[in-house]
Symmetry: D3
Subunit: 296 residues, 6 copies
């Protein structure tokens, strides 16, 4: 009975947070590492369903790098690269599309449906949810000579039409979105999942953007977990990108957060999705557990 | 951080209950003892607001005996009675109406509004929410002689038109209802608040009826709290009324529960509203803390 | 048959007025004198129901001074005053609330419902219909010395949210409003019923504001009924307040009319609500029977 | 001022009738005699507009015999007849259509619009409001020999689709309907205006059917106005058709009333439309002024 | 089978045109010559029904000069004229109204309904679709003397309220409109059908205005069909009116086209409505068959 | 110009078919052979878009056998089989899901969007569009011994909830559906695309079910195209399955047609989707080009 009473107190303590985010759209992005870990994906979906039940409108964007690599390996296809730059050729985009839309997205939707909540899988192609243009060639200097390399079927988001997501969230579906865009001529283009999440958060007037990664947040010293930065202004965020504190895969995440917050999303969060209930902790406590980025 | 993690686990444990009652109407009745205790009323309202935020539609019915008595005393009016039977004369019904609608109801609505949730005070008169007919004269035997005594402005519910409540819950208001009915000729009639709650639970197709009293539930031995009966079927409930286990003010409560459950309300609960968060405990745990009445 | 024919002619003569006010909101305020007179209240309600049936949207605001005094007397409570200024202490506001909301409002709603028209009782607390701030202390000079006196639980309207009234009039209910506002901290504040009526007329874009009093209108010489002023511009209204022609309880009425007309209400009327069908006479004849205040 | 007070009393006396018919559809048919009399048509339209403003939904069906005859005369066309039976040949139906739809209907609609109320002219063709089948040949005996005579473009109502009328009354238009139906092959057929009114009253679930004629109602002795029958049951109505009390143009009127009442219209009335405000008198008084036909 | 395959190819070729005009309002005006020719009217209606079925919203405006003249002749009435100017006296407007609304409009509506499509006949009077003011007197010089001649019941469009057309097209009706307007005092006024079509095209934000006449379009040399002008800018259109290339009945058509295009209608077309399927040809081919007027 | 005139005549000839199917749902299934042939898929999509534009609601179900085989080969995976029965193991269902949902479905949706029409890709998982249960083990006799073989992740449709399709077709999207169902535990199950099409046609109250295959229809002698059967009743269809005329992949197609027609779909068609515009030919001509199955 004792624990029971505690339980109720905790529910009551959650009330102010529930009130604050009631009716708000929350865009949650999680990457491939989480998708392939059965325990992590199960936990994160439970959290998201809770958000839905207490009145928020969660929208999921997922990545899937590790899965794509796994399938390519299985098919005996070696990732192409020119001078160290990865190239997305026709074969690769086909596999990416199959893995992201056919495999990962479907899996997430199925898991949500299994919990009794309606869900729908979408990608940029559906109702032209987001279109992209092929990225221009990239200049690289090789042996003193400048060369332009075509990165292939990789795109940058051009236009977003959130109608379809709104139709579905209004009717209590949780939309799950794969980062495959449609290009002018109908071709598929791979776009960065972080940018998709950031841009959708902005276009949906989301209250929050949550990037669930496999690290604890932005660290001053990536090798030392105790150097987690709890809060960043836009200005500070830009500065730690410039000075190299942020590097690698964290860069597009921080950039997407900056863009979203600049366009009106109240707060963006980078958290460790592999930690149990990290989403709830970030939303239902003041201190949070990751890095929070806000305007000032 | 430790407690934080516990917190999230508890929220997640609440999920199945939240799911189960999502969108359901829950009728909650609390009596005068709770209304006059600042701490109890504050706590019970917090619980009810939480129910609202996690997707239920709470409807409040309140009593007010002690307050009516207090005001009558202040006005120097002595409660009338004939042969031990309390008589509600014109003066008394006027005071009951003033206290219930003008004082108690207003106070509850104000407390809810203060928490940022919309609320509206109603009684039987508004949109003919519920009408009553005057109770017939009561036969009593006095000194071997049978007499009929007119109990005055006391009524039994005749007709219920829940339209107004539905208009308001649809628009996210919490309705607070005083047990004053309108009679055929437009007169006010005092009706038992427990019956009002039971009848409304039935007419609104409520999922649950919760009677928040000042005892822990139905006790086998009223003087011994350890004899709490956790669960009763309708049959058992009727039997313990007949055999006298249930007595006094508990009788109309159990009867209202029986009627509601008979008409389709899934479960009815008699709990101690003075215990902190007893409503949440009853709803969000399997074991509950009071007496639960269900069909079989 | 003869009278019958006359009847039809009169209905036809009413047509232009019916057309003009079709679909318009009409705010009608009547005071405590009318409420306690069975004949007057019955007649005024009949008039208001007629307005509803010919397509207007009547909204009622009521006062209740005499009733409050009566109940206070019955309870043996003497109205407090400091240096002649009436003080609304905690006891007084409680009684005011009980009498206005619990007694008078309920009575009016019941009478309307009895006529087969749907009605609902409201006060400032319901859906935060109107909030008030406590009036500042009043400066008075006593024996050459300046003192500040706290008038107690008396407020001035701060914010009005007419949503609830609009929900109800759209669904053919006649709303009946008590002049009890909700303050910041959830406390009850007594506000002047004339100001409530004036402010609601403005916020509801009412076509007309009708003040049903117990005098014939604004009189040049209050002791001589033959000096009724039929029509006043805003400028004239202000001038007769300044020069003392208008005094006592008539001042807030004229001020409320001025404010409402200034904010877009077409016409405001001060009439004698105790005269039979004075509301209909004022609305359905060009000459009217009281004082009409308009912009120019 | 005196008459003013009377006026208000009369409005109040009209209240119960206004209540009773609020929201009801009232089908009013008037014939050609009224249409060509400027005074009569002006008055009858005023009455109908009043009905609309006090909340009823009037639907007008008109006839036009005298006008058709006038135009035929002007065009030098002699009404055809075979053995005394009038024949509607192609020329005649064309003129009927032009006069009814182009002239009379347009005139009525214009007069209503001039009063500031929206109106629309319709006939059976619009949205297939009502279709008809050509009447079969009529058997007549001439000089001992039986002959079959084709009456030409005359029809009997087959199917009614009231959608168009309902669209318009919902949007506050008064529909004005000419008795020209559309036949299977798209041809125009003249149908009896009384039957159209009766059938529409039934299909629209009208509360009342009013036949405004140029006589006072059903008379026991057509030559003696004092023999007016105030009330008839269906049984009585049928009997006075059989026994010849009702004759000529009154027969289809009474039959249409019988049919409408049989199909659920509460009451049907035959009144003198040339008498000032006879419609209002019939609706707003208990005694009425014409003949009322009801079920029993 | 061979032709069958061709058929499908042609349907597919129509697809871009169907897409382009999907959901667009198309105002089509045809004159009296077409109405009286059974073959032409049947064909033009088939075309219009096809437009409706492939997703456009056709609105028909018709004329009726030849029919009016025919009926006037039959009635032995000679068209009045003063000094060569035609005068529309009361008799004439009555006949115009009867012929246009009662005869021609009804006929068109019946033909559409016969094809299984819902249609409704309207004129300016219905819902005050369009009002007109009487044209001023016309100055003419006769024998060196200036005289002013009153042209009678002829009007110029003043105000258009397209609500009624929009109600009907939304519900899949094809509206058919007669060029009879309502004047201030409720009188009928004859207005030029070309102007009605042009003005409605503008007020309805039509995509196209099609004038179906009995000539092939605008000809450089009216006597030589081979001189058809396929395309005209507004500037060129004005110039060929000024220089006299366009004359007679073609002038109001070109002017209506100019006005409509100036107000936002994309393209206006003058085609030969007597040629089979000329409407479809003009809409479903790039080259068209008549004269097309566009902005530049 | 000549061909132009023909074109219009052909459009007009299509009118009766357009009318007949206006607003109807048409379920079209096409298999893997069509999907991989660029020309065929382009043509079939053009046809379907035309159906949409002339007012039908097309719903696409696709197969994808050849593509799945191709990808399996690329991945060096050999289709498993036990005693000649194909087994869908975990690897195989994963590839099927990726190919069907990620590759083929996406491709079809992209091609439709490219034509300017909104489309959305769905499978059984989305909103639990269709659920399936795993097929029971199959009994086979091997070397005189009876064995039960588990076919793996292959399912039979259990429940269909067409809500999502209806939401989308109402909003003018063309839904494209992959034959992957969701099982009880959230697993993916491969279901026969022909059954999916048949069942959806039934649940959506489709007017037509069109099976676009790579043969001309049902042939009496599969080796002789001239033996095409144009029309079959349900009875005849069942008989030619029993007598072996129909064999192989044609069996589930004919069975799906039988089931759909039995449940209320008017007509089912088996056509050659590789023939140009075969869908249009089947819909817009009376004779059709394939095999049509109807009730009797």
């Amino acid at each position: 009975m004792d624990t029971g009473l505690n339980r109720e107190n905790i529910l009551i303590e959650a009330l102010p947070y529930i009130k604050r985010f009631h009716g708000s759209t929350i865009v949650i992005k999680f990457g491939g590492h989480i998708v392939i870990d059965e325990e992590s994906i199960k936990n994160i979906i439970k959290d998201i369903i809770l958000l839905k039940y207490v009145g928020m409108k969660p929208v999921i964007v997922h990545g899937g790098g590790p899965e794509i690599t796994r399938v390519m390996n299985e098919m005996g296809i070696k990732p192409k690269s020119v001078d160290g730059l990865r190239i997305t050729d026709e074969k690769t985009i086909e596999i990416a599309r199959m893995v992201l839309i056919g495999n990962i997205n479907t899996k997430i939707v199925s898991k949500i449906e299994k919990e009794g909540v309606k869900s729908i899988g979408l990608s940029g192609k559906d109702g032209k949810l987001f279109t992209a243009r092929k990225k221009g060639k990239k200049k690289v200097e090789i042996e003193g000579e400048e060369k332009k390399i075509d990165l292939g079927y990789v795109g940058e988001i051009e236009n977003v039409d959130p109608e379809l997501i709104e139709i579905m969230t209004e009717r209590s579906y949780i939309p799950v979105i794969s980062p495959i865009a449609i290009g002018q001529t109908g071709i598929s283009l791979n776009v960065n999942a972080d940018s998709v999440a950031g841009r959708l958060a902005h276009e949906l007037n989301a209250r929050k953007l949550i990037m669930a990664t496999n690290v604890d947040g932005v660290l001053k010293d990536p090798s030392d977990k105790s150097t987690l930065i709890s809060e960043l202004s836009i200005k500070e965020s830009k500065s730690i990108i410039r000075d190299g504190t942020v590097e690698g895969g964290m860069i597009p995440k921080v950039k997407a957060c900056i863009n979203a917050v600049n366009k009106g999303v109240k707060k963006a969060h980078i958290i460790n999705g592999e930690k149990n209930h990290s989403i709830l902790l970030e939303i239902f406590t003041d201190e949070g557990i990751g890095t929070m980025i806000k305007k000032n």
